[in-house]
Subunit: 410 residues, 2 copies
């Protein structure tokens, strides 16, 4: 008998009917001979309703109380799912985050899990129960309710799987797994059978938002192997794990794209130590999140620094920069460009295969797509292109590395 | 500085606007120089929504899980009220029943409070906080969430007041206090300034549903003096307390009425030990709640037993009786009458004043109202009359004992 942790997100439990479907799936998993822990989110829409109530009583709701409020969302789901399973003849018991032994620090609304003490979970499993755990929430050592922030339920599931020594952890979602590219853009995109944590992280940070990076990082840190698979069928999903030697045979695992980007260039800046630091400190202090940063080699004591960010942040970033750059250097100028997007090729095989970047740029050039900016990491090559070119660029790179080829990944 | 426990029901916290009103009232109480614990219910309508969700997943929801589900209602309110108070510049912290140290037995959906360990409550009060406690809920010693059943929030407030040694306990509601009779029926009904626990209990069990009997019983047992007052104004309410000698000067404290009653008579029954027991055991086993029971003196070895109950239960009661009585005695017959109501005069002064019943019956007779059944306790005289006569009967008794007289209670 193996122990499986299953995570069901807000859409999967978004109505009583869907909760009944989840109940059936959990029961089917048990009937296959497994012990099951189901970690669940709030029903889709519930969290937004609660946020609306909070705004109705205060423009700046206390974070401690926000956690007390939001935690009711998952508590509602665990009770309903346990009832549904029991109503179908199963034997389930619900546990809040606190009851399941999930301890966190006290950073309300974005707490970090510190330890999990799954004694009660084990006791209930040993007693033949299906255990339903509220995701996204925990408790501080002094008994305050906390929530984990975005992607918190994935994190709860992976951390619980680690704590109980689960044989499998399934992240059940509304897609079949992780794809080589967004199938709406690249029709011959294929589901990836196995992907390394690092590749998954690069895919996530490049716009393939199946999961938040922090959950993948946690899984990597504690070596939790997990599947991303569909809650609507039982097809095999994508297994996310530590890289294995055979994985390097695939140079590029997938291609991700991120739209609605903007590019900012601070030009003609003095090539002196500390200038870049001052620029990005000003940006960081304004709470603006940026993505790629590129600086070219210096020519005659001046250089250009470019970076990308979500276009919604552009106006504020320009404000901040005009002030801060003006204070440092009267010759520098800030220019920006909207209507750009990012295409990234990700794969750990890139490390051992030279020429990946060259192949990618050649393919894009042959397709007549202009590259505006390039950034690379050990396992990723990313380019900024015109928004209008992003789909063609994704298809070009996807085809260029043969990702749609059926035999390629088999 | 005195310590006040305030209880706010579901209507008082029924919207974000009303929660803000409650927040202002709590703050005003603190500004008067008091420490405040507010015990709150779920927002009106929330519990019904949750019950609807439960029915959507199971026709027989597990009671343990029902408690997990329902407890989210009060948890939502405590978070919102604390946010509201903080938003208005106050300093409030919310506690669930478990966090507030409310321990109960494990009888899910109708648990009894066993102990309250208010260490955290005291710590927060000492630290200058307003403490917002979720009513209606607690936790078993082994960490399960429980709810207290109907009237649970009143009970939480009174039990908390007892545990912390509060100077005052206020049950804030949508009426100004306990009245000598329902003002919609008796226009000159007056608010009662002081009432004894026993009178309050008799009023509650006779249809004046300001509070459930169990909360009053708890208050009586632990000597918790509480006020019933309006959440909409600051008028003095009704103080409920142990009887004092001066209270006996008032013969009748109030008149309550209960509509929609039915009367059942099992006639011509053998006057033998055990027959009545068998009749009422059958009724009890069917889960039917009955009110008055009257048996006349026996004539020639046979007697009649009558009882009253809510008319909605009549059909089932008759079914049960026809079967059970038939099995005991072939001569007995079951008759019933709908369209009756109960009028009760309540007052501890009744004990020391003879002739109260006679005065009451005379007044009713003079008004041409026929009495169908009589039942008395030490401090109550109740009569069953035609439903059509109930309002006239209430006014007659109310006037007959001078309850509308302004000087009488002053």
């Amino acid at each position: 008998m193996s122990l499986i942790v299953q995570k069901y997100g807000g859409t999967s439990v978004g109505s009583t009917e869907r909760i009944l479907n989840v109940a059936r799936r959990v029961l089917a998993t048990q009937e296959e001979g497994h012990e099951v822990i189901a970690v669940v989110s709030a029903m889709a829409g519930v969290t937004d309703n609660l946020l609306g109530l909070a705004r109705g009583v205060s423009s700046t709701p206390t974070k401690r109380e926000m956690d007390v409020l939001l935690a009711t969302g998952e508590q509602t789901t665990i009770a309903l799912l346990a009832m549904a399973i029991n109503g179908l003849g199963g034997k389930a018991i619900s546990l809040t985050g606190a009851q399941a032994g999930i301890a966190t620090d006290g950073d309300h609304t974005r707490a970090r899990i510190t330890t999990i003490t799954p004694d009660e979970v084990h006791r209930l499993l040993d007693d033949g129960h299906i255990v339903i755990v509220a995701g996204f929430q925990g408790q501080t050592p002094d008994g305050r309710i906390t929530t984990l922030g975005r992607g918190g339920t994935d994190l709860s599931a992976i951390a619980m799987a680690s704590a109980v020594g689960a044989d499998r952890c399934q992240i059940l979602t509304d897609v079949d797994g992780v794809y080589t590219c967004d199938p709406r853009v690249v029709p011959n995109a294929r589901k990836i059978d196995e992907i390394s944590y690092d590749e998954m992280l690069e895919m996530a940070s490049s716009g393939s938002k199946v999961m938040q990076s922090r959950s993948v990082e946690f899984a990597k840190k504690f070596g939790v192997i997990f599947d991303v698979c569909s809650s609507l069928n039982t097809n095999p999903g994508t297994v996310v794990m530590e890289e294995k030697s055979h994985m390097e045979a695939v140079v590029i695992r997938g291609v991700s794209l991120e739209r609605n980007q903007a590019k900012v260039t601070v030009g003609n800046v003095p090539d002196q130590p500390g200038f870049a630091a001052r620029v990005f400190r000003a940006i960081a202090e304004a709470g603006i999140i940026i993505d790629m940063i590129v600086q070219n080699t210096s020519e005659e004591g001046v250089t250009d620094i470019s970076f990308t960010l979500n276009k919604d942040e552009l106006a504020r970033a320009k404000e901040v920069l005009v002030q801060s750059v003006g204070a440092f250097s009267s010759d520098s100028r800030v220019t920006s460009e909207e209507g750009v997007a990012k295409v990234s090729a990700v794969g750990i095989g890139m490390r051992s295969h030279s020429g990946v970047a060259a192949d990618m740029f050649s393919a894009l050039a042959a397709a007549g797509i202009n590259i505006k900016m390039i950034s690379t990491s050990e396992i990723k090559t990313a380019v900024i292109v015109d928004e209008k070119d992003v789909e063609a660029a994704a298809r070009t790179v996807h085809d260029g590395f043969g990702l749609g080829d059926k035999d390629f990944l088999a």
